[in-house]
Amino acid sequence: MRFAPTEEQAEFRSAVKALLADTCDIVAVRASWGGEVGRHTDVGQGNGRVERAWKGLADMGVLGLLVPEADGGMGMTQDAFVGIAVEAGYAGLPDPLIETAAVAPPVLASSSEPLASEILARIACGEVTVGVGFGESPIVPCASTADWFLILTGSAAHLLDASAADITPLSSVDGARHLGRVNWNADDSTVVVSSDSDAVALAAARNAAATFSAAALVGLSHRMIDMTVEYVGERRQFGVPIGSFQAVKHELADAALGVEFAEPLAFNAAHLLSVGEDATVAASMAKSRASRSSQVASDVCLQLHGAIGYTVEHDLHLFMKRAWALSRQYGDFRTHRAVVRRALLED
């Protein structure tokens, strides 16, 4: 029994953290916002990508971490990725890292289509991004820059060439998201995996999306809490730092408490994905808790920043809005709790 990353995984995660601190700093996150979000023209003219960070991740092998060695990747398992997803959340990386590097590769690796193998190789070297959507006409982040879409319906995984796809751009509260609706009707020609051939891989994709978005929410929550700890330590009222007030301490302690206990659930779900066990309940527990605790964290952190937090001058909103979005993407707190409830009480 050992519930901790291996030394190698921990070192790799630290290296990714350092890379993101350097290449995806707050200036880069701000710049990734798009000008088309009219209300937020003070922030960048970006396209939702931080190219330097992406290139760095490709060079380090992060993008190919879960790509089989035969396809040019590192052939590692999901427990090696979960800590990295936390760091991506912490950095506020807007790029489709979870989708491209952790959701798509296992699905594509389970496909016998030559195209799937080709895309895997291109993911590993950082040439393509893959947007992931669930169901008919899904809303997908980073849709405008995606090279491929992996659309998962109940019965199949479809791989669509983005250059031929019909995408309706949608404006998100988080200007770095660059959402698009992929207008698309299921058609056998794009199937890479079907539930007949590999239902497990399709279920695993849903669980991976929940697990790694939960991990990213843990990172986002830590980031908001760190920013708030710093702020309330500096901001003085009544002659003292407001962080010395018990009302402030207890709010922050509660925000941190929720995140503290959400994190091991995400690591456990990643572990189950790694060993190929059914992670449905574990992933839903993780996403349910991470979604709820990130909402608590964003509420508390906004409140404790006071009026400055309620502006786009301050950077808190960059992380808070991402948390609002991500806590509901791939299933919100209640949806995932209902999955667990059904497994416990209705089966």
């Binding site: 029994m1 330590g233 018990q246 302690a253 509660d254 941190a256 206990f261 091991p264």
Partner: protein
């Protein structure tokens, strides 16, 4: 990550399970926090000890079986899953013993620990006073040096002493330097409750059991330790004079975290909660979906707590113990326990008030956020010592 138990750990689990299956009383014992119930629980402790299960993680010489921390977790899981009796020895074995292991002399360890594991000496905690609860450093009970007789004279009053009326010994903090303030000038004393000058008065808790006591010390003499059994039987000091605060804090982190509330206890309770939910559903009871969500939440949080503990134990085993993070632990398990029992009461509806195990469990759970350092104090510790907010 390797979330599997080794073959030897599996074997240990089987061994625990087998013994518990053969020995756990079929009917639950009367509460150990009443005088009749305490006597029955004492018999159970003797049985546990004779079979080597009283203190599995201790050295064999002191009544244990040198189990690893992982095996201890397994034992706890099996113990609660088997519905085995509450541990009336827990204040000794879980709170005092770690301090004796860390600060006691070899002679003190050799004397106190075997007697504790055999339930010969039954320890209660003498920390809180009428005016020093959350503000523990405000302790007024004092110990005055008596050079003539060669020892210390204890006086004052301790309160909220769990099972004090049934215990034989007290460990607690006393002020040895009247000039020193707050947490300085305190010393960690051990004393028999049979000593001259000790008066113990039991009183009823919220759940009706007389599990609380106040202890009055009226010039109780504790002789200097000369390494003999006679002086140790009459009491003693753990750690240095004036260093009691630091010595005591080492036990608070055991109390808050791992040792007092292993996940096995909550897993067993969550399993019973699920069973109750299934029973109510099968009986056609009209349940609001929100109640089933509360059941699910309690179950998820129990899993989160169990996983958190596995991570903590990994940290301890690899030399990075939780430290102040144990305050997260204490807030979480205590509030989880309340929510879990509330969910059960809601499943029971109007029948919740009937005298039964869920109502008893609920009443007991309500003490969790209060004892072992109130959750308000724990949140201060999280904010100041984990997150780094300014104290003043």
């Amino acid at each position: 990550m390797d979330l599997t138990w080794s073959e030897s750990e599996q074997h240990f689990r089987e061994e625990c399970r087998e013994w518990l299956r053969a020995n756990v009383p079929a009917e639950p014992l009367p509460s150990g926090d009443t005088s009749e119930g305490f006597a029955v629980h004492l018999e159970w402790e003797y049985l546990l000890h004779s079979a080597g299960w009283a203190v599995v993680s201790w050295p064999a010489a002191y009544g244990g079986r040198d189990a690893t921390l992982w095996e201890w977790l397994i034992f706890e899981e099996e113990y609660y899953a088997a519905g085995a009796p509450q541990r009336i020895t827990q204040n000794g074995i879980f709170l005092l013993a770690p301090t004796i292991f860390e600060f006691g002399s070899r002679a003190q360890q050799d004397y106190y620990l075997p007697r504790m594991s055999a339930a010969q000496d039954l320890w209660c905690q003498g920390w809180s006073e009428p005016n020093a609860g959350s503000d523990l450093a405000g302790i007024k009970s004092r110990a005055v040096r008596d050079d003539e007789r060669g020892g210390w004279v204890l006086s004052g009053q301790k309160t909220w002493t769990t099972r004090g009326a049934f215990s034989t010994h007290l460990f607690g903090l006393f002020r040895t330097d009247p000039e020193a303030e707050r947490h300085r000038g305190l010393t960690y004393f051990l004393a028999p409750l049979t000593a001259e000058g000790m008066t113990v008065r039991g009183f009823g808790r919220l759940d009706g059991d007389e599990g609380f006591a106040e202890v009055f010390l009226d010039d109780v003499f504790v002789p200097d330790d000369d390494g003999t059994t006679e002086t140790m039987a009459a009491g003693g000091i753990l750690g240095e004079i004036g260093q009691g605060w630091g010595v005591a804090m080492s036990t608070t982190s055991s109390e808050r975290g791992l040792t007092l509330r292993s996940p096995g206890r909550f897993r067993a309770a969550a399993a019973r909660l699920l069973e109750l939910a299934h029973d109510q559903i099968a009986a056609g009871v009209d349940l609001d979906p929100a109640v089933l969500d509360a059941v699910t939440d309690a179950w998820i949080d129990t899993e989160a707590y169990a996983l958190y503990t596995l991570r903590d134990v990994t940290g301890v085993v690899e030399g990075t113990p939780a430290g102040a993070r144990s305050s997260y632990n204490k807030v979480f398990w205590s509030e989880l326990d309340v929510r879990l029992h509330e969910a059960a009461l809601d499943l029971l509806g109007a029948e919740a008030e009937l005298d039964g195990s869920w109502m008893h469990g609920y009443e007991f759970s309500l003490s969790g956020p209060i004892y072992a350092g109130t959750n308000e104090i724990q949140r201060n510790i999280i904010a100041e010592r984990v997150l780094g907010l300014p104290r003043k």
